[in-house]
Amino acid sequence: MLVFAISDKGGTGRSVTSSNIVYRRALRGNDVCYLDFDFGSPTAGAIFNVSTAERGTDRGGMHSYLQEKVAEPYRVDVWTSSDRSALRGKPPGAGQLVLLPGDSSGGEFPTVPSVVQQCVRLFLRLDEEFDLCLVDLSAGRSYAADMVLAATARPELAAIPFRWLVYHRWTRQHIIAAAGLVYERRGLLDVGAAHGHDKRRLAEQIRFVRTAVVEPSSPDLSALRSTQLAWLDECNRDLHELAGRNRVGRTAMLGKVPLDPVLQWREQIIVDEDVYASQIANEGTTRAFDDLATKIFDERAWEGL
């Protein structure tokens, strides 16, 4: 299965959440790979603590491959290459966890038919090898998003299921921006339709993920003043209403990730050790990741109304 991760704006936690989802899936025994399609700033390596690909790679990453400059894309096996001891060494029962970084010196490049063709080839190959290929796109509208919409509309990929995760933070601006990214003119649906997707079927493959969510009912908020809590509660209600109106409401949502200090200060994989041994991360965060990792494959979660 192909999963495309996109966000309305930068700084939503798209990459870090996606990485964690991939990691959780790998722990459950799935073979997974993570493709860094954030061509402007390929930094996925940093999240997995792979120093050789911290700012992309110069050994022929995604850019080079898609523009047919290299025959094989550079691959990083996280279980052997991560500098972080908690990630090094494949846990028993876990599946492959492979990272396909971008080029360190790369930038955005326009979608031309040959690039789309190469992209189709890449997805076909990876789908044979992996249960889940998560493609991390950049924020907002981009050539990369255009390219994958074109590629997935091709008959060669018709048999491969794909899904879209649209990350957004739980604020007015982000809700409006996320809805715009999907539904407005030149949004995902429009562009997809131009490439030959059926708009309704494409819409059914898109779900939103809320990040850095602060729940007014959360016990973590006990330090706030009562007036702040009352205000927060009211804002939250407003946001729910706004989200519903903009078709970003609960029915279109796959999951939400609570605000976690660890993710705020450092984008990293949260391993069980962080939650139970050092207790720097919240259990709710990993639960949210797990939930997302489950729902990505759960047909019922995508059935909708």
Partner: protein, 610 residues
């Protein structure tokens, strides 16, 4: 214990969804088994709050509140909950539709035999009963509204088709229930000299006036009602009231009246049902019918357009009966210049039975009428007195003595004979055990329209006391945990009942909690006295503030500016809310006055030291 409707309702929802699902499947039936009424009550426990309170909406999955979702986890997440409910509703409609398409309203296991040696026959169990028509009207309206709103969020064809199917079947059941209600309405006319007439006259004559005068007064009082009743055209209860000397009473029998005429309508309601109920109003069923008929012309029903034209016609016919019945019983209950017949507890019915429960039922109708006519507090205070006394007499706000016969009214309940039922088996009765909760509901109803704080407080504190009693009666453990009813918790003489919840009682608690939540949603009472004082205080504070501003207008006042600004802010806010919430405004004004006074004091002090 303070009543917290929202928390309580969430707790009930949690318990209902937990008790009703086993291995992901919905299970019907409570303490008295499964029947058309009990199952309706069970569903209403969820559907009623969902349709009446905005905070409990589940028809727009995007907007469902978090705590509501959390309480319904047993039924699924925000998207699954409505789907599960639709499945359950369809099952309900399947269960209570006969093979030839007739909606069924049988009393089933709620019918009890008078003869311990002979069970209620199958034929009797299948008899339709007003309680079921009434509950179905309320439930169908909830369902129709729910589906109408939910439909807007649905895109999938398959689900849409299912919704439309359930909708048309629910609408058919609603029509059938209305038709049946029209066929169970009855007017009983009698001669003043008959035994019934004598009982009625004795009830209304509280001042010892000559009977002849009382009859004349009564006839005059009832002229309007009589005229209205004579004009009724469809359904049962078309009686010749032309003889002005006859007395009468009106209301609902316990089921479809024997030989009731058919109701002509273009609506599909299935083949008509027969009836064997006598042509006599039964107080209990009258109150039950009246309660649901109000739902037919509630604001929600109108706004959402839940009735089609033909149904609207039936609803209008029912509304006329509602008006007349309400008016009839209020006139009777509050007749005369002396003590009201209602205050003469216990109430005596024309078949010469008397019970505190009948007093409660008549009070219920009176309260309903007061709600509509916005009665004055003098009247409300008298009703409050009746409610108060009923609570005492029923051992709700007083302890029961040993072997107290009154306790039997709560458990097993008041035995209500269903006359006429012996035509096809042993004679039957109905067990009514909702005294406490009905009393609470009516108390809350009166409290919600009280205009003076004093009356309201009196009623609310009575309501709180009754609530404590009801709250204690929750089942403590077992499948019915957090649901009702376990009267042995409050009455030592009673054997503990089964731990399976009684949907009969629980549904009534839910209904009460919903009305309590609505009352809390409304604005607090505005006391004119408090308003006046707040206004005066505000003008003093503003004046002092202006003076202070004058003094500090020079540059030396810079350091004090934040303080003055906060005073100004407070006063502005106070001015904005003084009309709606004078008490809150006063709190702000007080603070400002204190600050201003400290400044004045400091200056006086400096001046005095010179």
């Amino acid at each position: 214990m303070k009543l917290q409707p929202r928390q309580q309702l969430l707790e009930v929802w949690r318990a209902v969804s937990r008790t009703s699902t086993h291995d992901g499947r919905w299970t019907w039936g409570g303490r008295d088994g499964s029947n058309s009424i009990s199952d309706t009550e069970q569903l209403l426990c969820l559907m009623f709050p969902a349709s009446e309170l905005t905070g409990f909406k589940i028809d727009v999955p995007d907007e469902t509140a978090e705590d509501v979702l959390e309480s319904l986890t047993a039924l699924g997440d925000s998207i699954e909950v409505p789907k599960t409910l639709i499945r359950v509703i369809r099952e309900y409609l399947d269960n209570y539709t006969s093979e030839d398409g007739r909606p069924l309203f049988a009393g089933g296991s709620y019918f009890k035999s008078n003869d311990p040696a002979q069970d209620v026959t199958k034929e009797q169990q299948d008899l339709d009963v007003v309680d079921s028509f009434s509950m179905s009207v309320t439930l169908m309206l909830s369902i129709l509204g729910f589906l109408k709103v939910f439909r807007r969020s649905v895109r999938r064809e398959e689900l849409l088709r299912e919704i439309l199917d359930v909708e048309s079947r629910a609408s058919k059941r609603l029509s059938a229930a209305m038709v049946n209600l029209l066929r169970s309405f009855t007017i009983n006319a009698f001669d003043p000299g008959s035994p019934q007439g004598r009982v009625l006259i004795r009830s209304v004559n509280q001042t010892g006036s000559p009977d002849r005068r009382v009859i004349e007064d009564l006839q005059r009082q009832l002229t309007g009602v009589r005229a209205g009743l004579r004009d009724l055209t469809i359904g049962s209860g078309q009686v010749d009231l032309d003889n002005p000397n006859l007395l009468f009473e009106c209301g609902w029998s316990w089921g479809i009246v024997q030989d009731a005429p058919l109701v002509e309508t273009d609506l599909d309601v299935g083949p008509p049902a027969g009836g064997i109920a006598p042509n006599l109003p039964f107080l209990y069923f009258t109150v039950i019918a009246l309660t649901s008929i109000t739902d037919l012309f509630s604001e929600r029903t109108r706004v959402l357009g839940l009735l089609d034209d033909d149904q609207q016609q039936l609803a209008n016919a029912l509304q006329r009966r509602w008006d007349l019945t309400q008016a009839y019983w209020s006139r009777i209950a509050m007749f005369g210049r002396g003590r009201w017949p209602l205050e003469d507890i216990p109430w005596r019915t024309t078949d010469d039975a008397e019970s505190d429960y009948f007093s409660l039922l008549v009070t219920a109708m009176v309260v309903e009428n007061l709600l509509r006519t916005r009665a004055s507090d003098t009247v409300l205070n008298r009703v409050a007195g009746v409610l108060d006394e009923l609570a005492i007499r029923a051992r709700i706000t007083r302890r029961a003595i040993k072997d107290d016969p009154t306790v039997r009214m709560h458990s097993p309940g008041v035995i209500y004979q269903l006359d006429g039922s012996d035509a096809i088996g042993p004679s039957m009765h109905w067990l009514i055990s909702d005294f406490a909760i009905t009393l609470l509901k009516r108390t809350m109803g009166v409290a919600s329209i009280a205009q003076s704080t004093q009356t309201r407080e009196r009623l609310l504190s009575l309501a709180d006391e009754i609530w404590v009693h009801i709250h204690k009666r929750r089942c403590g453990n077992g499948v019915g945990r957090d649901l009702w009813d376990q009267p042995s918790n409050v009455f030592a003489d009673i054997e503990p009942a089964s731990e399976v919840p009684s949907w009969y009682f629980t549904e009534r608690v839910v209904e009460f909690l919903v009305s309590a939540a609505k009352t809390s949603e409304a604005d607090p009472i505005r006391s004119p006295m408090l308003s006046d004082i707040a206004g005066e205080m505000l003008s003093e504070a503003e004046h002092l503030y202006d003076q202070e501003q004058l003094i500090w207008a020079t540059s030396s006042g810079q350091a004090l500016q934040p303080k003055l600004r906060s005073i100004e802010g407070n006063l502005q806010r106070a001015r904005a809310i003084v009309r709606a919430r004078p008490g809150s405004a006063m709190a702000l004004i007080n603070e400002s006055l204190r600050d201003l006074e400290l400044l004045a004091l400091a200056r006086e002090n400096a001046a005095g030291a010179n």
